[in-house]
């Protein structure tokens, strides 16, 4: 059997690749945590480590570029897992013929976002390959950080009754990249939501200590929520009418037959908080994005599954992404 693009969509087939190949081969305590950043225990200290590869096409898009994306990606993975990002390592893979000025512009956006997040780029590597061996530029970043506080977010702290908050309207990054890749003749594209989440998460963590957080990347909201329920003894009940989606994103999805619940974000996360804290936690998140919303609850019914109560008061399953939906988005 051959690898197809569906194996990279962040959904069901990616999960299958992990289950069949990587988890059996690389089984280790940190990896088995299955968090966005793995906990490493070094001489009595817990350190979070993450890594993320970026192959987005086009490498420059409305609202960012591959450099900004690559720093945000690792920084956000650390932050949602409960770590303050401290150091990044960066590997550049560049196709021969790439413009030096473009590379400098990419490095400049990395410098800017790293500075904004208080992260030091501490190690790097550069490879150049012959023309055609890759598409222009790919970047991999790996980051380490220390816990914001000793109480790390964890699957084991999730309980029925807790509330699920999304930090802003969903699907902008996916919609942005999709419209860049297709010549629709639209005057403007949707701007990507690509942004660092450290500040928002640090404040949320300190004030309301969410039991779990996950950033919405490939596969979007639906995939992130399914990753939370899969294999666990609770379900998620979502309320469709409360899920924030910008009218432009919805319009694009209508035209293209895409489902915004599966569209990638690069600067949004879900936080699970105690029910009695949902109002305060939401108002904190609204200071970053007015569109932040409480979208559902952890429930004892439907263990392992995500159920969506539709705008029409029907109920349906919200499954993981099964199909390739997008060109290279991250």
């Amino acid at each position: 059997m051959k690898i197809t693009k569906a194996h990279g969509n962040g959904g069901k087939q990616t999960a299958e690749l992990l289950e069949k190949i990587f988890f059996p081969r690389f089984a280790s305590a940190p990896l088995n945590s299955r968090a966005d950043a793995s906990p490493l225990h070094l001489q009595g200290q817990t350190v979070g480590q993450t890594i993320d590869g970026f192959v987005v096409s086009p490498y420059r898009f409305h609202g960012g570029d591959i450099g900004k994306l690559s720093v945000c990606g690792s920084v956000n993975d650390l932050a949602v897992s409960g770590y303050r990002p401290l150091f990044l390592s960066v590997a550049f893979m560049i196709e021969e013929g790439f413009e030096m000025e473009e590379l400098d512009a990419i490095a400049a956006s990395m410098q800017q976002i790293a500075g904004q997040c208080g992260v030091i780029i501490a190690a790097g590597d550069t490879k150049v390959v012959e023309k055609g061996a890759l598409d222009k530029i790919f970047i991999t970043t790996s980051g380490i950080g220390l816990p914001f506080d000793p109480c790390l977010p964890s699957f084991s702290r999730i309980q029925p009754g807790q509330s699920i908050i999304v930090s802003g309207d969903i699907g902008r990054h996916g919609a942005c990249i999709y419209s860049h890749n297709q010549d629709f003749g639209f005057a403007e594209t949707v701007a990507s939501d690509c942004e660092p989440l450290v500040d928002s998460i640090a404040r949320l963590k300190k004030a309301y200590n969410p039991v779990f957080m996950r950033d919405l990347t490939r596969g979007g909201l639906a995939t992130a929520l399914n990753e939370i329920t899969t294999g666990n003894n609770f379900g998620i009940a979502l309320n469709e009418s409360t899920i924030p989606i910008d009218a432009k994103v919805n319009g694009l999805c209508d035209i293209l037959g895409l489902d915004p619940l599966y569209l990638a974000c690069e600067g949004r996360y879900v936080a699970i908080v105690a029910e009695d804290q949902e109002i305060e936690a939401l108002s904190l998140l609204k200071t970053y994005h007015q569109s932040a919303a409480v979208i559902g609850k952890i429930v004892p019914e439907f263990p392992g599954k995500v159920m969506l109560r539709t705008r029409f008061a029907g109920t349906r399953l919200l499954d993981m992404l099964y199909f390739e939906m997008l060109p290279r988005i991250c």
């Binding site: 197809t4 069901k12 029409f312 029907g314 349906r316 399953l317």
Partner: protein, 349 residues
């Protein structure tokens, strides 16, 4: 919204439930399930899917043909065709093995892209009445701009023949939901033949609200015993349809026999390029013997497409046949009824 739902439920209470309702088009199937109507109307409606999903009715041998060609010639196709299994392979698998398979957003865009290079290219022309004008426009572009390197592999279909075939088989259905996108092209007049079959039908749009209005109209019709073709989608669909599109189709295409997965050959169910434009058709010899054949003997796609069974009644459903390893096209297409049941949970436990 709640008012409309309540009115529908009041109507159903006066009828013999469940009302067996067939949505002809796969886009309706997906929308009905996405809106959660099978749970909202559990016991009140049974939603059965019809033969109107172009991906689902495309034959395995057409897929094989395209996949073979893509090894040497660039093929442009709509994305939902990529994972449909042929007898030997799918286009997605061919692409992974290095074949030249490109996704297109519209046939015209694909033709323009393909014409930029002088390499030969094939456009996979698959679709029903709704999509046919878009392919006719692409053919028109090739003719007017004397494009020499772009060919079509035409497998276009029209809805009338399979719908007649279905209704002639006297299926156990009480009412029909007709696709608004097809009607936008062929008009209300294009569905008039259904009145001969004495069951209510409504031309409908694809939003949840459109579908709820259709359910209300159909239940009211059943109460009155009327068998009129209603048009809920008046904001788009005219009685005479889109005559410019019809003219374009008739200019470039003529009716032909075509093959439906799980059903077989149906006369006058397809569109072929007229002889004077046939030079744009990529010349391939079809393996007619195989065209109507199901992929595995146990696959029930044909019965699902005819509304004889619901997807969970197929022995392969959710066991051997899942979206990540589909056995039949109804599980592959995002508009296939099996995929809709699997993905959205149907009526749920």
């Amino acid at each position: 919204m709640t008012d409309l739902v309540n009115q529908i439920k009041e109507n159903v209470a006066k009828l013999q439930a469940p009302i067996r309702l067939m949505e002809v088009c796969g886009t309706h199937t997906a929308a009905i399930h996405r809106c959660g109507f099978p749970t909202l109307f559990k016991g009140e409606f049974e939603f059965l899917s019809g033969p109107g999903c172009p991906v689902c009715v495309t034959t395995p041998s057409y897929i094989d043909q395209l996949a073979d060609l893509s090894n040497s010639i660039a093929v442009y196709t709509f994305g939902d065709m990529l994972r449909v299994p042929g007898n030997r392979t799918s286009l997605a698998e061919s692409r992974a093995a290095g074949a030249k398979v490109n996704m297109m957003i519209s046939p015209l865009e694909a033709v323009r892209r393909a014409a930029e290079s002088s390499e030969p290219a094939i456009i996979a022309a698959v679709g029903f009445d709704t999509t046919a004008p878009a392919f006719a426009l692409a053919v028109d572009y090739c003719v007017n701009n004397q494009i020499k390197n772009v060919y079509f592999l035409t497998e276009l279909k029209t809805i009338e023949a399979p719908l007649k075939y279905l209704l002639n088989s006297a299926p156990a259905i009480d009412a029909l939901v007709l696709p608004g996108n097809v009607a936008a092209v062929i008009g209300e007049q294009g569905f008039k033949f259904i009145e001969n079959y004495r069951l209510p039908a409504v031309i409908t749009g694809f939003s949840g609200t459109d579908i709820l209005q259709a359910l209300f109209i159909l239940t009211a019709s059943l109460l009155k015993n009327d068998t009129v073709i209603h048009n809920q989608y008046r904001r788009i669909v005219r009685a005479e349809g889109n005559q410019k599109a019809q003219k374009l189709i008739n200019h470039y295409y003529e009716p032909c026999t075509s093959y439906f997965r799980g059903i077989g050959a149906l006369a006058f169910s397809g569109l072929a390029l007229r002889p004077e434009y046939a030079y744009l058709e990529y010349p391939v010899a079809y393996d007619v013997e195989q065209t109507g054949q199901a992929l595995t003997s146990a696959c029930q796609c044909g019965n699902v497409l005819m509304g004889r069974i619901k997807p969970p009644e197929c022995p392969l459903f959710a066991v051997a046949c899942r979206p990540d390893h589909p056995q039949g096209a109804c599980m592959v297409s995002t508009e296939g009824s099996c995929a809709a049941y699997f993905r959205y949970g149907g009526g749920l436990p």
